[in-house]
Symmetry: D3
Subunit: 210 residues, 6 copies
C-alpha cells in the first residue's frame, strides 16, 4: 500500500474520531457539577489509571457504632463513572454489624454477597416488607428511593458489593437524618410520633443538636 | 376551492395524523403497568373528560391521627398524566395537622400554599436541614427521594397543592414503613437504634405486627 | 457511648455525605446553561431561602390586551428547580381574560383552578379538540408541545396554578410568534393562509415589523 | 476442535444471547402503545425486511392546496424505529409548494436538502425568528416543539429528507389545528385575535366546523 | 387510640399506597417486552423471593474454548431488575481464560475483581486503548458500547462481578458476530479486510456458515 | 390600541420569554463538554447561520483504502444539534466502496439512499444477521451499538445520508480499533482468535503498532 493512501486513511480516522471523543466523560471535580454530572476532563489528558479505582480493595473500618462501613466508589471518589449511570460501593459488616435503615434518593441498588451471611430487606411504597437472608453469591435488588437495610446475620464478618443505577446515588441514613443534625426536637416529634425523650437521647448519641 | 383538492388535503391530514396520535397516552388501568407507565387507551375512545379530574376539589377528611389528608391525583386516580412526567396532590391540614416525615421515591415535589401557614422542610443527603415557614402563595421545592414534612404552623386550616415530577411519585411515610407493617420489632430496633418498647408502642398505634 | 466511637460515626457520615451532596442542583444563573440545566451552586452556600420562592404570591398585572398574566417560577426565577424536571406558574385572568393559544415546547402542563371558572382546551396531533369548563379544584392536563388556551368564562376574576414537567418549559404564544417579531409578512401569509392585510393589522397591534 | 467443546460454546452463546435479544423492539402495532412505544414483535419472527422501508422512495402527491407533501416513516409506517428515538420523513415541494407553519410536539428535526432550494425557518420561545434559504446539501435544525415552516423558494421542485429525535414526533399543522376541526369560532377568535370572518373563511377552506 | 381513628389511618394509608405500588416493576416475562422493559407482575403476587437471585452463586462452566464463562443476571434471568437501569453478571476465568473482545450495545459496565488477576481493557471512539492489570478489589469502568475484553493474567482462576447500567445490556461477542453465524464470507472479508481463508477457518471453529 | 397597553404587552412577552430562551442550546465548543452536552452559547449571540450547516453538501474524498468517506455533522461540526438528540452524516461510496464493520456506541442510525445501490446490514446481540440490498429512497435502521456495514453493491457511486439518535453518536470502526492503534498484538490475538501474523499484517496496513 502506498503512503499517500495510508495518510488518507489516517485522516479519515482522525476527523471521524474528533467528533466522537465523548463516549465517556471523566469528571473534572474542580468544576461545578451540573444536573447531568460534572464537566469532562480533556480526553487527551486521560490514561488507563483514570478508569480504574483501587479504593474498594481495602476493608472499611468497622470499629464504630454500627460495626459496619460503607466505602463508596461514587463519582466523587471514582470520576470515571460520571455520566455513565452506574457506581459501586463496598459494604463491610463485622459480626453483628448493621447498615441502618437508609435510602438512596437517586438510584436503585443491587447487592452481591461475597462473604458471610446478610439479612437484607426493604419496604415498598405499598408498605409491604420484603426481607431475606442472603448467602454467598446471592444478589438482591433494592428499588430506587425505598427504605432498606443490611444486617450481618451470621457468625463471621460479611462482605458485599453494591451497584447503583447512578454515578451519584446519594445516601440518606434515617437515624442521622432525624437525630444527627440541627432539626429541632419539636419538629422531629411532630413528624415521627416519637417522644421528645427518645429523640433527645438519640440526638445525644448521633451528634444532633436542637 | 374545488372539492377534489379539499379531499386531498383531508387525506394528507389524516395520514399524517395517524402517525402522531400518541402525543399523550391516557392510562388503561385494566392492563398491566410497564416501567414507562400503563398502556394507552385508544385515542378514539377519549373525550375531554379524560383530561380533567375533579377529585381534588373536595377537602380531604382530616379527622384522623395526623389531622391531615393527602388526596392524590396520580396516574391511578387521573389516568391522563400517564407517561407525562407530572402529577398533583392536594394537602389539607387542619389546625395542628401534620404530614409526617416521608419520601417520594420517584419524584421531586413543589408545594404551593393556597391558604394558611405551613412549616415545611427536608433533609439533604449531606444531612443538612432546610425548613421554613411558608405563607399563602409561597412555593417550596423538595428534591427527589429526600425525607420531608409539612406542618400546619398557623391558627387556621391550611391548604396546599403539591406537584410531582412523575405520574407515579410513590409515597413512603416513615412511621408506617417502620411501624405499620409486619417488619419484626427486632429488625426495626437493629436498624433504627430505637428501643423495642418504643417500637412496640408505635406498632400498636399504627397497626403493625411482629 | 464513648467519644472515640462518636467521632468515628461522624467520620462515616461525612465521607458518605460528601459523595452525595448533589441530590439537588440549585442553578448558578451566572454560568452558561447546559442541555441538562445550569451548573450547580455550591451546596455549602445554600440556605432554606434557596428552596422557597414568594414571587407567585402576588397577582400578576392583568391591565393589558389579554386581561391576563402569566407569572412564571421557572428556573430563571426559581433556581432551585434546576434539573428537577418540574416548575410552576401562576395564571391570573381578569374578567374576560384570555391566555391566548400557545405551546410549551418542552413540557406537559397540569392546571389547577384555585378561584373562578376557566374554559380550557387543547388540540391534539390527530387534530381533535378537547375543551371543558373548569371549576374551583378541577385539574386539567395539557400534553407536551400541543396548542392550548385558557379563558376566564365566569363573571369574576380567576386564578390558577400550572405545573410543568420541566424546569424550563418554554412558552410560545402563537400570536406573538406570528405577528410580534420581524418575520416578513410574505412568509406569514404563505405559511398560514392568512391575508396580508390581516397579518399587517395584527403585526401593528402586537409590535411586529416586516 | 472436538464436538463437545463446540457445543459448549454454542450453549454459552445461546444463553447469553437469550438475555439480550432486545437491542431493538420492532413495534407490534396490533397491541396498545405505551409511553415508551409499542410492545415488541418476537425477535424470532423478524427478517431483514422488518428493518427496511421503501415508502420514502416515491414522491408524495403534491396536487393539493399546499403543493407539497409530507411522507412519514414514523413508527406507524416503519415499526422498526420503535423505541430507538429516531424517525424520518420525506418532503416534496412542487414549485411554490409550502409546508405550512407547524410543530412536532415531541421531537427536534434536522432537514437535508436533496434537490432544489428551500426557505426554512423557525421561531424561538424568545420570539426570535431564524430563517434562511437552503441549497442542495445544506442541513438545518428545528429545535423541539417550535413553530417552523419550509417553502420552495426556487424555480424547480424541491426534495428534502427530515430526521426526528423520536420514533413518533407528532405533527401539528397550525392551520388545521385552528381551522380544520370543530373548535368553535368564538374560541378561535378569543385565543388568536383573528376576526370571526377570517376564521370562518379558513374553516370553510380547511374543513372545520363550529 | 380509639378504633374509628385507627381505621381512618388505615384508609389513608391504603388509598395513598394504591397510587404508588409501582416503585418497582418485576418483569412478567410471559408478556411481550416494550422499549422500557417488560410489563409488571402484579405487586400482590410478589414475595421477597422475587427480589433475590441465587444464580450467580455457582461458578460458570469454563471447560470451553475460551476457558471462561459469563453468567448473566439480566432481566431474563432476574426479572426484578426490570425497569431499574441496572443488572449484574458473574465472570469466571480459568487459568488463561479470556472473555473475548465484545461490546454491550446498551450499557456501561463496572467490573470488580473478587479473586485472581485480570488484564482488562477497552478501545475508545477516538481509537485510544486503555488496558490495565487489575488485582483483587480493583474496579474498572467500560463505557457504553465500546469494544472491551478481560483476560486472566494470573496463575490462578479469577472471579469478577460486573454491573451494568441497564436491565438488559446486550452482549455482542465480536468473533461470534463475525464468524459464528450465516454472514457470507464475502461480506466479512469486504468489511473487515480479513482474508477469506482466515474467515473460513474461524467460521469452522465458531459454527458459522456461508 | 393605545400605547400604554402595547407596552404592557411587550413587557409580558419579554418577561415570559426570558424564562424560556433555552429551547435550544447551541454548543460553545470552547468550554468543556458535560454528560448532557456542551454548555450553550448565549442565545443573543446567535443568528440563523448557527442553525444551518453546509458541510454535507460536498462529496467526501473517496480516494482511500475503503473507496468511501463518512462526513459527519455531529455536535463537533454542527454545534446546533447539541442536546437535541439528533445528528447527521453523509456517506459517499465510490464503486466498490465500503464503510467497514463499525458501531456507534451511543446512537441508533437510520440510512436513506439518495443515489446508487447499497448492501447494508447489521448483526444483533442474538447473533442474527440482517442484511439487504437498498435502492434509491430505501431507508434502513441500525439499532444502537450493533456492528453494521454498508457496501456499494452497484456499478455507480452511491450516496446516502444517515441520521443518528444522538448529537454525538461516536464511531468505532472495527479494524481501526483492533489494528490501528497500540493495542499489543498478543492482546489482539488472545481476544479475537486471529493469528499473530494476520494481526501484524493488518497493523502494518492500518497504522497500528505493538
Amino acid at each position: 500500500m502506498s503512503l499517500p493512501i495510508l495518510l488518507t486513511v489516517a485522516l479519515l480516522l482522525t476527523s471521524s474520531a474528533y467528533a466522537s471523543v465523548n463516549d465517556f466523560c471523566v469528571a473534572d471535580l474542580q468544576q461545578p457539577d451540573t444536573p447531568s454530572g460534572y464537566p469532562c476532563k480533556k480526553a487527551t489528558s486521560l490514561t488507563e489509571k483514570d478508569f480504574v479505582y483501587s479504593g474498594l480493595g481495602v476493608a472499611g473500618n468497622t470499629s464504630n457504632i454500627i460495626s459496619a462501613a460503607v466505602t463508596p466508589a461514587f463519582v466523587a471518589q471514582f470520576p470515571a463513572v460520571n455520566g455513565l449511570g452506574i457506581s459501586l460501593a463496598r459494604l463491610d459488616l463485622a459480626v453483628a454489624g448493621v447498615i441502618p435503615m437508609h435510602t438512596h434518593p437517586g438510584a436503585s441498588e443491587v447487592l452481591v454477597v461475597i462473604q458471610g451471611t446478610i439479612c437484607a430487606g426493604f419496604i415498598s411504597s405499598a408498605n409491604t416488607v420484603y426481607f431475606k437472608t442472603l448467602f454467598k453469591g446471592d444478589i438482591m435488588v433494592f428499588p430506587q428511593g425505598l427504605l432498606h437495610f443490611q444486617i450481618n446475620s451470621g457468625d463471621d464478618p460479611a462482605l458485599a458489593f453494591v451497584s447503583f443505577s447512578s454515578a451519584n446515588p446519594g445516601l440518606q441514613i434515617l437515624d442521622y437524618a432525624l437525630f444527627g443534625n440541627e432539626l429541632p426536637t419539636e419538629l422531629v416529634t411532630k413528624t415521627t410520633f416519637l417522644d421528645a425523650a427518645v429523640v433527645k437521647k438519640l440526638k445525644s448519641v448521633l451528634g444532633g443538636s436542637g
